[in-house]
């Protein structure tokens, strides 16, 4: 994660608040949304490395979800942009290593390297936007429930839920500690010193261990016996969730195996 703690925390808070909204997309069974997202990512990443235009029709999915769910497109875009330093870094080597010219538009020569670089960017946007939309339109506790119904081991799902619950609290504690330290030091821009980090993290860790003990006590006080029981069964409605799954799954298949952009050009031309 890049960025300051503040920014990360507010991004997380935003995502949580968004996911609490109600609406068409929010109301879908999380399993359907998870499956569609996975199909989307698999389809997008399965293209050859020079493919750019055939990735474009896939943009319909994030566009439709953004439109239907009321999430602001700016927010989605912002998150896809944050995602990418490693990708860009690696991707930029492509034009360097692959100089075979592929396309000339007037005086401009596009090499294979550039085509694959653009492909990488397109993939990144698409894949990240799908994940972002999944998280902005699905309550995390329901997402976990969906994962569990799909076969993820219960101990891992419970772990996700506890982690998510205490994440904000601990990040807040970390933030306060860093602030307190910054107020007493000469504000090093790129971070605290190694020694300071060790003691900050060390005290945070000790406090965390104490908290774990207290939480366990609270759990025992309410009858905890080793098993976390969860209610709220999910209901997968064939007409709504099944349709969502089939429709988008079908669309992705079509986009993957039919060259829609060429067809569209052809149709417009005619």
């Amino acid at each position: 994660m890049s960025g300051s703690i503040e920014r990360n925390l507010s991004a997380l808070a935003e995502a949580v608040d968004h996911s609490q909204a109600s609406g068409l997309v929010h109301g879908l069974d999380p399993r359907a949304k998870i499956l569609v997202t996975l199909l989307f990512v698999i389809a997008v990443t399965s293209f050859g490395k020079y493919e750019v235009s055939r990735l474009m029709p896939f943009a319909l999915y994030p566009a439709v979800l953004t439109g239907l769910s009321g999430v602001s497109p700016g927010r989605v875009l912002k998150r896809t942009l944050i995602a990418a330093p490693f990708v860009l870094f690696v991707g930029l080597f492509n034009p360097l290593f692959d100089r075979t010219p592929l396309l000339r538009i007037g005086p401009l020569v596009l090499t294979g390297g550039w085509m694959s670089f653009f492909s990488i960017i397109a993939r990144s946007f698409l894949a990240v936007s799908a994940a972002v939309l999944l998280v902005l339109t699905t309550r995390f506790d329901l997402l976990c429930l969906g994962l569990e119904r799909m076969g993820i081991p219960r101990v891992f799902v419970v772990q996700l839920q506890f982690l998510w619950r205490y994440l904000v609290l601990l990040a807040g504690e970390a933030q306060r500690m860093v602030r307190a330290h910054t107020l007493r030091s000469w504000g090093n821009r790129s971070g605290v010193s190694l020694k300071t980090f060790a003691s900050l993290a060390g005290s945070l860790l000790l406090r965390t261990l104490d908290r774990a003990g207290r939480v366990y006590g609270a759990m025992k006080a309410r009858g905890f016996d080793g098993e976390i029981r969860m209610l709220r069964p999910l209901s997968f409605s064939l007409s709504r969730d099944g349709l969502f799954l089939l429709a988008w799954g079908g669309y992705f298949l079509v986009c993957r195996f039919v060259n829609l952009p060429e067809l569209l050009s052809g149709a417009v031309g005619r």
Binding site: R139, F140, D141, G217, A218, A221, R222, L231
Partner: protein, 247 residues
């Protein structure tokens, strides 16, 4: 019916390193009584409450909760009867949503789904938190956390409520809501607090703890008039009784 009593005799507790936190505490709470537990920091309030719920096992004395004497074997049973509200709600709200947290206790009690849902909605409305059911627990304000924490405990239908500093961290409005709630509960209540004005509003009886022992036990108004006692125990006369503001 009149068995929701709490009978503590010569309760003792010593830490692993030998320090004695409780040096023989005795008192009895009757069914439906609301009693405050006051004392300086370190007097032993929190330790005593942990011992009452069986989260730590006493080194001596007995704790009788409505006929069940606390022991390692009966600890789980005792916890079923006592609803303990922690000082730090963050420790008490550990499930992803409010609903999950309030349902945690009833689910562990082996109730059916319908019963659990019923308990949850009743508890949430008693605590004034029905509108928070689907909220993630980490997105609650301090006052909301406190109300939900109380709901999590109410849902188990305890006989006795024990609350550790319930007013801490609340703004005046939240505090007022809390006072209203506490006054209306029919449970036997033991409230540990520094907020002596809250005590005046909620608890007719007060136990003063000092250095691990009971320094006084009686009607709240009487105890709060004894300035020398309060000072000896590192307490102060409540604000509204200072400067002759009240009777």
């Amino acid at each position: 019916m009149s068995h929701h009593y709490l009978d503590v005799r010569d309760l003792r507790y010593a830490y692993p390193d030998g320090t004695e936190a409780l040096k023989g505490v005795s008192f009895r709470l009757e069914h439906g009584e609301a009693c405050a537990l006051v004392g300086a920091n370190g007097a032993g309030k929190s330790t005593m409450m942990l011992a009452l719920t069986g989260l730590i096992l006493p080194s001596g004395g007995t704790v009788d909760v409505g006929g069940t004497v606390l022991s390692k074997k009966t600890a789980a049973d005792v916890r079923r009867r006592i609803g303990f509200v922690f000082q730090d709600s963050e420790d008490q709200l550990f499930m992803p949503t409010v609903f999950d947290d309030v349902a945690f206790g009833p689910l562990n009690q082996g109730l059916s789904e319908a019963e659990v849902r019923n308990r949850v909605s009743v508890a949430l409305s008693e605590a004034g938190a029905e509108h928070l059911a689907d909220r993630p627990t980490h997105r609650l304000s301090g006052g909301e956390k406190r109300s939900v924490a109380i709901a999590t405990v109410l849902a188990m239908l305890p006989d006795i409520l024990i609350l550790d500093e319930p007013g801490s961290g609340l703004d005046p409005y939240g505090r007022r809501l809390l006072v209203g709630m506490l006054r209306n509960f029919r449970h036997t209540r033991l409230i540990a607090t520094h907020d002596l004005d809250l005590v005046l509003d909620v608890c007719p009886r007060t136990i003063v703890l000092h250095e691990g022992k009971v320094a006084a036990d009686g009607p709240t108004a009487d105890i709060f008039r004894r300035a020398d006692l309060l000072e000896r125990c590192r307490l102060e006369v409540p604000f509204r009784m200072q400067n002759g503001l009240s009777k």
